[in-house]
């Protein structure tokens, strides 16, 4: 393998894009702005699956999402040359849908909510239907995948390296991955 190829997965421009911009909001108070909030876990999950062989050139990554995790996956999969099939519902906004399609991902929109569990259940049913078919699939499962919080160790290191010790972390909780992963890593310095 020559030197250029050895640059491998890291020299793809995604690593820098996944990092947060740190903005000072007060004397000892900083905000972190992510250009694509879920790019960090999407990249970590896909690259780890590639490294362990759960994804190869014949694999289609399948995930149910109507938000930024889908965009993160679409960016990573486009860069890695991996097929991506996302299952969403009518709540997906048009600009995001267009970006996903521009990135080459296949998008299935469920049009009817399930009798029980609404659109979320309908999306999960559709995902099951897809992966039950012929072919090779990988489902990142962002809500259950420990690599989601694990990926935020990179962000925690960025915080400490840029700002020093952090006494309080404030953040929103969706999957819980960002806040749990960041706080778990920060706490290793003061357990």
């Amino acid at each position: 393998m020559n030197g250029l190829l050895n640059l491998g997965l890291n020299a793809d421009g995604l690593a820098e894009l996944a990092m947060a911009r740190l903005v000072q909001l007060g004397p000892n108070y900083f905000g972190a702005a992510f250009d694509v909030m879920k790019l960090m876990p999407a990249r970590h999950i896909v690259d780890a699956a590639l490294a362990e062989g759960s994804i190869n050139e014949k694999t289609t990554v399948v995930e149910t999402t109507s938000g930024t995790f889908g965009l993160g996956l679409a960016m990573v999969c486009a860069r890695r040359g991996i097929q991506l099939h996302l299952v969403s519902d009518p709540a997906i906004d048009e600009p995001l849908r267009d970006r996903l399609l521009d990135l080459g991902c296949r998008l299935t929109i469920v049009d009817q909510p399930a009798p029980q569990g609404g659109y979320q259940a309908a999306r999960l049913d559709k995902l099951q239907e897809i992966i039950s078919g012929p072919g090779r699939y990988y489902v990142p499962s962002q809500y259950d995948n420990p690599r989601n919080p694990e990926s935020y160790a990179v962000f925690a290191r960025q915080l400490v390296e840029s700002l020093g010790s952090i006494s309080t972390l404030v953040g929103p909780v969706g999957s819980g991955g960002s806040l749990c992963g960041t706080s778990r890593a920060l706490r290793t310095l003061d357990e």
Partner: protein, 161 residues
């Protein structure tokens, strides 16, 4: 040897990273935690079976060290050293170090340092803000705890790694 602090791979015997030029000004009050110690042959020891939590901690320690040596931050360097001491404790409890970690803040220290493959440990003080009498109190405590004489030395200071 090196004129600036480096991340040193002791088993390979080489510097892995230059950490920065602004060492905090510290005083270390240390002791040999093995009173009858005859030293340790590092290379004859197996590397501990570090788990994912240890590796996560090492990454954070390195981030903290980079920041501490860039900004001369004694407190952050103390946190990094103490986190490293805790990793060591997970792979072989040393009663003296356990007590040091429990009480270092009460004594006015910023952290606890240990040599991972040896038996030397010490309290780390911020030399710029710590009253002189604190060093004596810590030294007496440590001598009683370890049953061995203590040693104190200064380290770092901006422009004086």
């Amino acid at each position: 040897m090196f004129t600036n602090p480096v991340l040193f791979g002791q088993r390979d015997g080489r510097a892995l990273e230059w950490l920065g030029e602004y060492s905090p000004y510290l005083r270390i009050v240390g002791v040999d935690t093995d009173a009858a110690g005859i030293g340790v042959d590092t290379l004859s020891q197996e590397s501990p079976p570090y788990d994912e939590h240890d590796l996560l901690t090492f990454g954070m320690i390195l981030a903290a060290l980079r920041r501490a040596y860039k900004t001369s931050d004694a407190n952050l360097l103390g946190l990094a050293a103490t986190a490293s001491s805790r990793v060591m404790q997970r792979h072989g409890e040393n009663n003296v170090v356990a007590a040091m970690i429990e009480h270092y803040r009460d004594l006015g220290a910023v952290g606890v340092q240990v040599s991972h493959s040896g038996t030397i440990a010490g309290f780390i003080f911020d030399r710029l803000v710590t009253p002189e009498e604190r060093y004596e109190v810590a030294g007496s405590y440590l001598a009683r705890l370890a049953g061995a004489p203590t040693r104190a030395f200064d380290y770092g200071g901006v422009g004086h790694p």
